[in-house]
Symmetry: C2
Subunit: 373 residues, 2 copies
């Protein structure tokens, strides 16, 4: 009884009511990983704690023979090795990156895919060459409208064999704010294999799907790209038939560094009574976060936290904190970010079939012990 491609690569689906996490979702959760929430304490996420999502396999890559080709609607096609890229003026940018599917496994009904809860985020210092520097070298022709980026990771998704490939409108690819990077270093060292060694795209403010890893080709195209990751995946749609809207910039989110200490299995937080510093990070791809509110009663009442300013032109998360007096009993802490564009986090779940851009507020159950316990 032989299988065919359509048996091993099935259409996207939504979990049935009451359906537990499947073995397939678990296999993705065991490979990919989020930021352990206590790592919100680090302004820059240390290696190995930044979230990782790999669509197919991490490709084997040899830095010595790696080439980035630039072609299509350009006057001078390029083939650049890493030495050529490193010879160009470099910049370093601190960027918060989040998976577009963050929060997916909290949705009802649950889209069946990588089952993130709230932790698919991280912040790193990315060093590389501005994309527009390289595009200027190649000389983009007037009839180009998009840049299409191809990674070296190869697989099948929903029946379509592909190299991972995404595009950006030319105005974004050559823009100044954000300035898109061809990054070859993370936190001062070479990119780790799982973060795109030896070269990746970094698109500050955009969800992770835009930051193409293991980048090997840029093709300037005269029409919008309609490949799988652009036209099929990563769209906000209500039904399978809905053409939907493209997933682009990161919606605002605040996360709480869970206070106290956890139970191993339930991860519920246990806190001793008295003053507690509640703190965490908040970010948005639409502008600086201007307000973080904290609720200690499950969202009934809210109080403003202090929020650090975002560096001008920066795309990293901002720290926030607020003091809370923990009283014995059960509490649900909730945090909510609002950005300069007026976007905020919903208290009831938004829903779309891919489980994208879901920035429902985080809820952290806490048990405060009696005095002296």
């Amino acid at each position: 009884m032989d299988a065919s491609l359509s048996d091993v690569s099935t259409p996207g689906r939504v979990a049935a009511e009451g359906e537990g996490i499947s073995a397939e979702e678990l296999a993705l959760a065991a490979r990919n990983h989020g930021l352990p929430l206590e790592a919100l304490r680090y302004e820059v996420t240390p290696a190995g704690l930044h979230y990782v999502l790999v669509h197919y396999d991490i490709p084997a890559a040899d830095a010595g023979s790696w080439r980035l080709t630039v072609g299509g609607r350009v006057r001078t096609p390029l083939s650049l090795d890493l030495a050529a890229l490193r010879a160009l003026p470099a910049v370093t940018r601190r960027v918060t990156m989040e998976c577009a599917g963050n929060g997916r496994a909290r949705l009802t009904p649950r889209p069946v895919s990588q089952p993130w809860l709230v932790e698919a985020v991280g912040t790193a210092d990315w060093t590389g060459v501005p994309l527009r520097t390289v595009l200027e070298q190649a000389g983009v022709r007037e009839d180009a409208v998009e840049a299409v980026f191809t990674g070296a990771d190869h697989g099948i998704e929903r029946g379509v064999e592909q190299d991972y490939r995404r595009s950006l409108p030319l105005a974004v690819a050559t823009g100044a704010d954000p300035e898109v990077l061809l990054a070859y270093a993370m936190n001062g060292g070479p990119l780790p294999p799982q973060h795109g060694f030896p070269l990746r795209l970094v698109v500050p403010g955009w969800y992770g799907m835009a930051h193409v890893k293991w980048l090997r080709d840029i093709t300037l195209a005269g029409a919008p790209f309609t490949g799988f990751q652009q036209a099929v995946a990563y769209r906000y749609r209500r039904t399978a038939e809905d053409p939907g809207e493209p997933v682009t910039r990161i919606a605002p989110r605040a996360l709480l560094l869970p206070p106290g200490f956890p139970d191993f299995m339930s991860r519920v937080r246990v806190v001793r009574p008295g003053p507690v510093r509640l703190e965490g990070r908040a970010w948005s791809g639409h502008g600086p976060v201007t307000r973080v509110e904290v609720s200690a009663d499950g969202g009934r009442t809210w109080a403003d936290a202090e929020v650090t300013a975002r560096d001008p032109g920066g795309w990293a998360w901002q720290a926030w904190h607020r003091r809370w007096t923990a009283t014995p009993g059960s509490h649900t802490l909730v945090v909510r970010a609002t950005d300069a564009a007026g976007r905020t986090q919903p208290l009831e779940q938004p829903w779309n079939r891919g489980g994208f851009g879901n920035n429902l507020v985080q809820r952290v159950p806490v048990l405060v012990l009696p005095p002296g316990a």
Copy 2:
């Protein structure tokens, strides 16, 4: 309606028949992570790809003020800072580490805990001071029988509030083969936070629970340690009442670097027909792996792979490979390791209530495409 500790920290349990992976298991899978199997290509696992299991939270640690205390049944209690440890003669050992719970989520019925499939493994070069060097400095008294190691990670587990704590019999703690290390570096750099920064124990050949991270105290004890992680967790038991046997050394296991390329969601491998190099790693905590067998028909027939020799006195995995001629259709690849002690991997699941030491053979479904597809 207030919760109590017994509500948030419940007894261990086994999943009901047909019960999907729970939200709690998923939360652990999202925090902790395995080795993406394609990373078996690296002899030494790069940072961020080595498996990680954290019982509670990764503690905040300041290397400057960190102290390792050594007390109990010693002649000279010690309080060592990192500079003092670094001033002692250092050794570097390449060690394969595996979580005792690896394979747990494949068991039927499934013990409810961190839901590993087969990927909770990694190999690193650990640098530090032999534990016996420090124990000699302290002067272990004749009435000591065990060394008890305390980490800085704090939490609740099955109702017991605790710092993570484990012991080793004195003969193991002071032994030459394996030589136990107090490690302060991994792969030539400082320990990452999730791997125990700034100091951890490394016990070559033993499952991960013995390699206490964020190590802050060693107490020499006159009686066997009966703390939670020794007497309650990490025991091979059939029922909740069974006192069981302690989990110690790693059972043999071979893993296959999955050939071809994957489907995103099912992770099933797709392979083009023709000769394929099957390769992977194999290890055992009971001695060198002496044989790796490969089956391309789900375990009906087996053929020997070539296995590299283990470095004398080494505790790292060994590479193996075998050529396979892939013919169109569905196949299940299976690999099995046998060690010098004559231990091998079972074809039918072993079972115990904690899901420990489960070295059931890996099964890798593969779809080989028709020629030219």
